[in-house]
């Protein structure tokens, strides 16, 4: 009865068909053949791109620093294997547009020889600042897909007096199971990573949240965490988008992150399980982030699996290893099917954000014949952000973006629940993605027009100043001439 008066702990969301079983039941494959060439983008994270410090022709070892981080929010990039640098140039990015970005091309020598890593000893003797420095130097970013530099988050954690660290093991996207497998096979390492993160953030309480469709992962993690009372492992309901930070925080702590605030402002920080594992590797063994577990799945995949691949591996090689039937593939998706990006071709590298690569058949895609809105309001009830997607889409259709912003466009997380549930197949989330980009473009245009006005005024002022100077010089010249004439006349008169 009392539950009637308490706030609901989950808002909106959908339960999509999971498609996880086929990859979640197999162990992570480590026998991926080392590719001959690796394409390593200089920007695999949120923030400024890294700056290369190697030259074409340099020989590098696995784990050697290739490009250093620039500015406060950035991350370095390391060599995923040993070999020779072939090129530093623009190549197509793993992005829906496949536009070029700067990449380092590494020709591997097959030896996969690690750079010498220093012996660290007991990492809990290190100062918390040292932990975040080392995490930053290892190029670790949020491996759930957001790719925010982890060191920055650890620093924010110390500054903001975080009381709860949530480790996100929800993995709510269908098809993906890389976090599930890692929690089963690497539970001890992940828990060690969580302890190191707690030490780095000076926090004393961590909650590992795992969706209840992953019982094996839950039991493995619970067993690994038993010795550490500061780490609690909990099960959360299976409901997409449970892994969204605000949803997870609301469910686990009961706190609501206010609009426009970061979660750290209410004393909570979230890291992904993969990030915890990478932290463990970096602090215990000094190994930077050079590979990751990727789920390869979908109807067109002959051998769906979770596989550990070096960063920079081309999707085409991954597909060859997993026996993907390209003739059957209707869409290639990087990430999960709900929020992932559709890629135009397979000649693109895997990056730190690549949690999965899906090769979906036509049968698995939603039909796209759009029907008129029947005002069923399904999209309103599934929206985890509490918005009215149908109204926003109607505003955006007639280009009234300001009106859409007024009713919450900026709070949309593009989770895709509205598009998923819409019985009329209206591409709602596509409208919101378009509108968000357009709003950003307009802000830039506004900024530019202000700058233009400043430039015009500066030019006007300069021209006036020059004209004024010329006038004064002219007057001075005329005055001098007159003075000379007067003197001349006086002299003549005197003579």
């Amino acid at each position: 009865m009392l539950s009637l008066f308490s706030k609901p702990r989950i808002r909106g969301g959908v339960h999509a068909e999971e498609h996880k079983a086929i990859t979640a039941s197999q162990t992570i494959a480590y026998d991926f053949p080392l590719p001959e060439k690796l394409y390593i983008p200089l920007q695999q994270h949120v923030g400024k791109p890294a700056e290369p410090l190697i030259r074409v022709g340099d020989a590098v070892l696995k784990g050697q620093l290739l490009a250093y981080s620039q500015g406060l929010i950035s991350a370095p990039v390391h060599a995923p294997s040993s070999g020779v640098i072939l090129d530093v140039n623009d190549y197509p990015a793993p992005h829906p547009s496949a536009l070029p970005i700067r990449m380092i091309v590494l020709a591997t020598d097959g030896k996969d020889e690690w750079v010498k890593t220093p012996d660290i000893g007991d990492p809990f003797q290190l100062s918390p600042e040292d932990i975040s420095l080392r995490v930053g130097a290892a190029g670790i970013v949020g491996l759930g897909g957001a790719t925010f530099p982890t060191a920055v988050k650890l620093n924010m954690g110390r500054e903001n007096r975080i009381d709860t660290l949530i480790i996100n093991g929800a993995e709510c996207e269908p098809y993906l199971s890389c976090d599930d497998r890692q929690m089963q096979e690497r539970s001890a390492q992940i828990i060690d990573g969580v302890r190191l993160m707690l030490h780095g953030m000076e926090t004393h309480h961590a909650v590992v949240a795992i969706e209840d469709n992953k019982p094996h992962a839950f039991y493995a993690m619970q067993a690994a965490a038993q010795a550490f009372p500061e780490i609690k492992v909990v099960q959360i309901p299976t409901r997409y988008p449970m892994g969204w930070d605000r949803q997870l925080i609301r469910y686990v702590t009961g706190r609501e992150v206010p609009v426009g605030c970061r979660s750290s402002e209410i004393g909570v920080t979230i890291h992904n399980v993969g990030t915890a594992y990478a932290t463990h590797q970096a602090i215990r063994y000094g190994q930077p982030l050079v590979s990751r577990v990727v789920t390869v799945s979908g109807g067109a995949v002959g051998r769906p699996m979770n596989v550990e691949v070096p960063l920079g591996t081309l999707i085409s090689e991954l597909f060859a290893f997993c026996e993907v039937d390209l003739a059957q593939t209707a869409r290639i998706v990087m990430g999960g099917p709900m929020m992932g990006d559709s890629l135009p071709h397979t000649g693109l590298p895997t990056v730190k954000a690549t949690s999965g690569i899906l090769a979906l058949t036509q049968h698995e895609l939603k039909s796209t014949d759009e029907q008129p809105c029947i005002r069923c309001a399904s999209c309103v009830s599934v929206c985890p952000a509490g918005l009215r997607p149908l109204d926003m889409a109607n505003n955006i259709k007639v280009n009234q973006l300001d009106a859409a912003v007024d009713i919450g466009l900026k709070d949309c997380i593009s989770c895709g629940c509205c598009s998923y549930i819409c019985p009329s197949n209206i591409p709602l989330v596509q409208y919101f993605k378009y509108a968000s980009g357009e709003v950003a473009a307009r802000q830039q245009a506004q900024h530019k027009s202000e700058q233009t006005k400043r430039l015009m005024e500066a030019r006007q002022a300069r021209l006036e100043r020059i004209a004024q100077q010329q006038r004064e010089e002219e007057e001075a010249r005329i005055a001098a001439k007159r003075e000379r004439e007067r003197l001349k006349a006086e002299q003549e008169a005197a003579a």
Binding site: L99, Q400, Q430, Y434, E438, R459
Partner: protein, 184 residues
Amino acid sequence: MYVFYAIVSLTLLGLFLGLLLGIAGKYLKVESSPIVDELEAMLPGSQCGQCGFPGCRPAAEALAEGNAPATICPPGGSTLAEQIAALLGLDLDLSEVKEPELLVARVSEATCTGCTRCFKVCPTDAIVGAPKQIHAVVADACIGCKKCVEVCPTECLQMHPIEVTLRNWRWAKPSAPMTGNALC
């Protein structure tokens, strides 16, 4: 006695003229609507004349009087139209507004003679150079006004569309197969 007359007459004259000036100030005042100033400040101010008015000020006056639609300014695009409509409280249908195509000038190094004509006309100082040196355009400051293209003697300055990179790439609008009555 004469002094007294002089003081009185001059005082009366002063009061009378002061009153006259006061009345003139009240009744012959030139009205300048503050909304026109506000509208003028919002318009681009490049006096391009694409709206059909001889400049931004006349266009702002027409807008304030209601003789022009909010979508009057082609270079401003729908952003400006929305701002104008919000200021004037107008209803707005933006589905017909075309976004202006963004262009930037670029110097072809092969044919630039360093004549300095272009950077003298550039309204935003976006062109840098010196006599007999090849000039260059600072793309961030270029507003695409094409004034430099008109004065260039060797046609080395050309307008190019802004290059699409990952930084300015945006999702396209979904093509809506719906008819007008979908806006229920």
